[in-house]
């Protein structure tokens, strides 16, 4: 069963039809590179997958569970939407780190918030009579604190491990403004990884970086492949796409113009438009 099944995604902004029916599948551990010229709808596709935009048509399923289907009117409650979002991670072109938090805090914030909710939810499950619960309040509070503390410690350790993986152990206490662009993007990758998404999406992760800094970020992404992460990378780095991707999609005008292995798409493109695009690089 594929990890991700995207069918016939359509999206318009007003009269402008940006996605005209996009469909593909991803297997576990597969890396998909999406290339295409500016305005072809690559970012919009990633935003639809991450539920930052609502598709007008089509469906999205992860591990066989349909998360979105335009034909089924689903009144997505805020809570549902959040759970669905957790299947995906998104790394933005311009990082969007939280400036008031240091590296460790950036990476562990979402984990800690989830832990807090989890522990609270457990307490809410307490169905004993009101008076019993009232008298047990001090005990419950202590329980809450202990559980939360345990979770937070675990989160911290997890965050530290992930930060190590992106090679920033020595920057763990630094605030984003103290980091180079490449380092900031690596923190952003760690932040997304912390939630262990089923599919991690990158929207031109190196486009905002000086050329000499792109290497360190691409290396981290390449390394994720060894951890069997399923990834979608929108990129203009053709060498990287060739090197790392298992499959390449060339998007043009909101449609998939061509798809195949890197060898097929780069070595022997069938479509005239793909040929034109590739020779430009």
């Amino acid at each position: 069963m594929p990890v991700l099944e995207v069918k016939n995604i359509k999206k318009s902004f007003g009269k402008l039809e940006v996605l005209k029916g996009i469909g593909f599948e991803l297997q576990k551990g597969e890396v998909l590179a999406i290339i295409g010229s500016s305005g072809s709808g690559k970012s919009t596709l990633l935003r639809v997958l991450n539920f930052l935009e609502k598709a007008d048509g089509g469906s999205i399923a992860v591990n066989g569970e349909t998360l979105y289907d335009a034909n089924i009117i689903n009144k997505n409650k805020d809570g549902d939407l959040r759970k669905k979002r957790l299947h995906f991670g998104l790394v933005f072109q311009s990082f969007h780190l939280f400036p008031q938090y240091n590296t460790l805090q950036n990476v562990s914030l979402a984990l800690n918030l989830l832990s807090k909710e989890k522990v609270r939810e457990m307490l809410r499950q307490d169905k004993r009579p009101f008076m019993t619960r009232l008298f047990a309040l001090p005990k419950t509070y202590k329980l809450y604190r202990d559980m939360l503390k345990k979770e937070m410690t675990a989160n911290r350790e997890k965050a530290i491990k992930i930060i190590e993986r992106v090679g920033l152990s020595d920057k763990i206490d630094c605030y984003p403004f103290q980091l180079s662009g490449g380092q900031q993007q690596r923190v952003a990758i760690a932040r997304a990884l912390a939630l262990e998404p089923d599919i991690l999406c990158f929207d031109e992760p190196t486009s905002a970086l000086d050329p000499e800094l792109t290497g360190e970020v691409l290396k981290v992404i390449k390394d994720l492949k060894n951890y069997n992460s399923t990834m979608i990378v929108v990129t203009h780095e053709m060498e990287f796409a060739k090197d790392v991707a298992d499959r390449v999609i060339f998007m043009c005008d909101g449609k998939i113009e061509e798809t195949g292995t890197p060898e097929e798409v780069f070595g022997n493109p069938k479509s005239e438009r793909t040929k034109q695009f590739i020779t430009r690089f």
């Binding site: 991450n50 539920f51 930052l52 805020d78 809570g79 959040r82 759970k83 979002r85 957790l86 995906f88 991670g89 998104l90 933005f92 311009s94 969007h96 780190l97 939280f98 400036p99 008031q100 914030l109 979402a110 918030l113 989830l114 605030y175 984003p176 403004f177 932040r191 997304a192 939630l195």
Partner: protein, 214 residues
């Protein structure tokens, strides 16, 4: 009238000044946030209503507003607002809430969409995003403009004098008129200076605390 008597009388006036200052802040700072949310509301009528009110309040003198709040309810509707102090307080709170609301709005709108989206993608709720990500950045950005307004408020309290609320200026003016001595006027100025000085030090401290990141 000797110096200690003058000091005592001025301190009494200063008490009223400080009371007006503190109550205005305590009420206007949260009210301003509500007004700010109103002026950013997706519900158009509410947004336009709020923005019109803010425009009127910011476009007319505070002195006029004090006089209007003091006289109009009584003359038109026979409602008594209670004491003069209440009338001044109502006018001040409305006025300052409107000024604060614009500062809040500017602060909130200056936070990039990317911060919200980063929070959303990490599965945070709207309130988590507001309280854990946005609010702190907003506070940092608005400290300087808020401190300006707060220091202006110290001096604006003297407008209460127009409807004969016994604040610092009125107290010193009384002494000058009754005893023919000039120095209480300058003396009262010292009160304002010290008060503002203290606030400046306080705000500098807060700004320094928040300056650990850019």
């Amino acid at each position: 009238m000797d110096f200690s008597q003058v000091t005592y009388q001025l301190l009494e006036g200063f008490g009223t000044t400080v009371l007006l200052f503190v109550l205005t802040l305590v009420l206007a700072l949260p009210l301003g946030l509500l007004v700010a949310f109103g002026s950013m509301s997706k519900f158009k009528p509410l947004r336009w209503l709020t923005r019109t009110v803010v425009w009127i309040i910011r476009g007319t003198p505070l002195m006029l507003q004090v006089i209007v709040v003091f006289y109009v309810p009584g003359l038109l509707f026979g409602v008594n607002l209670g004491t003069r102090m209440t009338a001044v307080l109502v006018a001040f709170v409305i006025n300052y809430a409107c000024y604060f609301s614009e500062i809040y709005r500017g602060g909130i709108e200056s936070i990039s969409k990317g911060q919200y989206e980063a929070g959303q993608v990490l599965g945070m709720t709207k309130s988590q995003i507001f309280f854990k990500i946005v609010l702190f950045q907003v506070i940092k950005r608005i400290t300087a403009p808020i401190s300006n307004e707060v220091i202006t408020l110290v001096k604006d309290t003297s407008l209460a004098r127009v409807i004969a609320v016994g604040e610092l200026i009125l107290a010193s003016q009384d002494i000058v008129a009754t005893y023919g001595i000039i120095y209480p006027l300058f003396y009262s100025g010292v009160f304002y200076l010290l008060f503002c000085g203290l606030l400046t030090i306080m705000f500098n401290f807060i700004e320094k605390k928040l300056a650990y990141y850019h």
